[in-house]
């Protein structure tokens, strides 16, 4: 069984591990999960929701004497990151929904993450407190001052262990730099700067400086009526601190080098695949819009997600992707209905496994897809309360596009389009995945014999 490097999507059998969140079918809007992210070691897993809250889960230290007991993720910290705000000047409400969370690499005992809503990014410090000072001379243990006349001896206060307390405190607030809605944040490999991207602009920040940022991309036209495309996602290269990419609603990706000029409006590389004319329809523009872009861990490739497919691009080849995977091609004939019910605007994310051999993305009916690049195989799995027995192996699912439906297949018309998996994350080293349904977080692990 492949382990450690997190490889082998289809040699791996996936088992249910845990599910977090309410069981009710009646979903409170504030509980809708809007982002999921493992930290760099995989020990911590953060989720953000529409109510502006961040919940962090921590992996239990593995019990080495009992390898069958896989480590579980338990709640580590919960805090309110963003509150709803009102922009009085524009008479606009600013949603508290957490759009993205990005962890900073750990430098000391504390953990740091960036969380953002539509307008404001915040740097949070998550630290542990497991001891407290006891034995003050002037104060009682509960903090009340002692009567000075009763003090007859002096003692040195000492630290004594206490129940672990995890504190989250906002260390920086990066505000007022975005006119449009922030869709991405990305920490640079230099560990000093990060970028934030909205529909038309990308800004570069220093983690220590909150009162200014540098605009590095601006695609706003002089006349807004001439607007033809917007920025949909942006990310820094994992190793080259001068390189970042941003994707557009027209299905293009631009790679920019910050050494070339201060304003990176002019791209260094433009990745674009010519459209297949036979697939042209009213909705071609919408489905070609890229909803997510992610560099591979090794920095040689990047992956893009549009409505129907996942594409892997070699950074050295701009004219077409090196691999294309259909996520749910059976939806191509349903685009009109999906337009009417707004599903065609859903923004699916995608992620790489630790050694870049498998990629994962979500779909409808709480299905998610694992696409194995090395074995050229793919599998569809489901996050469902019905497969929630401990260590229950997930059975591959099949969708019947048309014609006679085989046993165990589900027909396209039976798919529940309200059950969508937009956010998924893969542990950076192990075969552990976190899959977010509307308001539940499923954790699946590789089956261990």
């Amino acid at each position: 069984m492949v382990s450690g490097a997190g490889g082998g999507g289809n040699d791996v059998q996936w088992c249910f591990s845990q599910v977090k969140g309410a069981i009710d079918d009646d979903v409170a809007e504030a509980d809708i999960i809007s982002t999921v992210e493992f930290n760099h070691s995989g020990e911590l897993l953060a989720t953000g929701d529409k109510g502006g809250r961040v919940v962090i889960f921590q992996q239990e230290t593995e019990n080495k004497s009992q390898p069958q007991c896989r480590s579980e993720y338990n709640v580590y910290s919960t805090f309110q990151s963003h509150e709803p705000e009102f922009d009085y000047l524009k008479s606009l409400e600013i949603e508290e929904k957490i759009n993205k969370i990005r962890w900073l690499p750990q430098k000391n005992a504390a953990q740091f993450l960036l969380s953002t809503n539509d307008k404001t990014i915040k740097l949070w410090k998550i630290s542990e407190r497991d001891k407290r000072p006891e034995g003050y001379n002037l104060k009682e243990e509960d903090g009340r001052y002692r009567d000075a006349t009763t003090i007859t001896t002096l003692r040195v206060p000492v630290f004594r262990p206490m129940d672990l307390m995890v504190e989250a405190s906002p260390r920086r607030v990066f505000a007022n730099a975005h006119t449009y809605h922030i869709n991405s944040i990305s920490v640079n490999s230099d560990n000093e700067t990060y970028l934030s991207a909205d529909d038309l602009r990308i800004n570069l920040w220093h983690l220590e400086i909150t009162d200014r940022s540098f605009n590095i991309v601006d695609i706003k036209p002089a006349n807004m009526e001439e607007l033809t495309e917007v920025i949909t996602a942006a990310e820094f290269h994992p190793h080259q601190c001068n390189t970042f990419v941003y994707s557009s609603s027209k299905g293009t990706i631009r790679l920019c080098d910050m050494r070339a000029s201060a304003l990176c409006d002019k791209h260094s590389k433009l990745f674009e695949e010519p459209e297949d004319p036979s697939n042209r329809s009213f909705f071609s523009e919408i489905i070609s819009s890229i909803s997510d872009v992610k560099f591979s861990h090794n920095g040689r490739y990047m992956m893009t997600r549009d409505y129907l497919s996942v594409k892997i691009w070699d950074l050295n080849m701009e004219n077409r992707p090196v691999e294309t995977y259909q996520v749910h091609e059976y939806l191509r004939s349903k685009l009109c209905s999906l337009y009417e019910n707004d599903c065609i605007f859903d923004k699916f994310e995608c992620c790489w496994n630790g050694n870049d051999s498998v990629v994962m993305t979500g779909s409808y009916n709480n299905f998610f897809r694992m696409l194995d690049r090395t074995q050229r195989r793919d599998v569809t799995l489901e996050a469902s309360r019905e497969s929630c027995k401990p260590r229950q192996v997930l059975k591959p699912r099949r969708v019947c596009a048309g014609g006679k439906r085989k046993k165990d297949e589900i027909s396209v018309d039976s798919l529940d389009f309200n059950k969508k998996i937009l956010h998924t994350a893969w542990h950076p080293q192990e075969n552990i995945i976190a899959v977010a349904t509307t308001n539940n977080l499923y954790i699946f692990q590789e089956k261990v014999n």
Binding site: E93, I94, D118, H181, F282, E285, S289, D342
Partner: protein
């Protein structure tokens, strides 16, 4: 096809309106995609409408004017006799014709949007003119970018026989 286009147009407009009342402010990305889809549907719909109008006009006999009937016949055969008259047309007429041609060209350039978009051969005159008059093609190419919906609508109210108008004006 135009029924589909009309429906998409209506749905798009409805969605664009509801965007304004959504919490969190106007979503630029979504409104851009909606308006692009709406415009594509609108173009197909107008193209189909003109097709229907042209078909109706062809079915109904033309006004008993040899001059007006002449261009139709001529265009089927050869449009050379029209060319000198077109060139002699006053600039205002040229502008109006250009608006129509502009729309037609746009429909040409936009017909790629719909799989079943109809080749506008319902306007044989326009086609003929565009084939022979390179200068007009050049002008059309220049003004294509600046079209707004209004000029299309104006074209609809204008006669489907611009050449007639040219001749009448002369």
């Amino acid at each position: 096809m135009d029924v589909e286009a009309k429906r998409i147009m209506a749905v798009s407009i409805g969605k664009l309106y509801s965007l304004r009342t959504q919490r969190g402010g106007l979503r630029l990305h979504r409104s851009l995609l909606l308006s692009m889809t709406m415009r594509a549907a609108r173009d197909i719909y107008h193209t189909a409408q003109l097709l229907r109008d042209a078909e109706e006009e062809q079915v109904v006999p033309c006004a008993p004017d040899a001059a007006t009937e002449e261009p139709m016949e001529i265009s089927k055969d050869s449009p050379q006799t029209l060319t000198p008259k077109e060139v002699a047309v006053k600039p205002q007429e040229t502008l109006e014709e250009d608006k129509e041609n502009r729309c037609a060209s746009e429909r040409h350039s936009r017909k790629r949007r719909g799989k079943t978009a109809v080749e506008p051969d319902f306007l044989p005159l326009k086609k003929a003119k565009m084939d022979t008059d390179e200068e007009k093609q050049h002008l059309q190419g220049e003004v294509l970018r600046t079209n707004n919906g209004n000029s299309c609508r104006q074209a609809e109210t204008l006669s489907a026989f611009p050449t007639n108008r040219a001749i009448v004006a002369c």
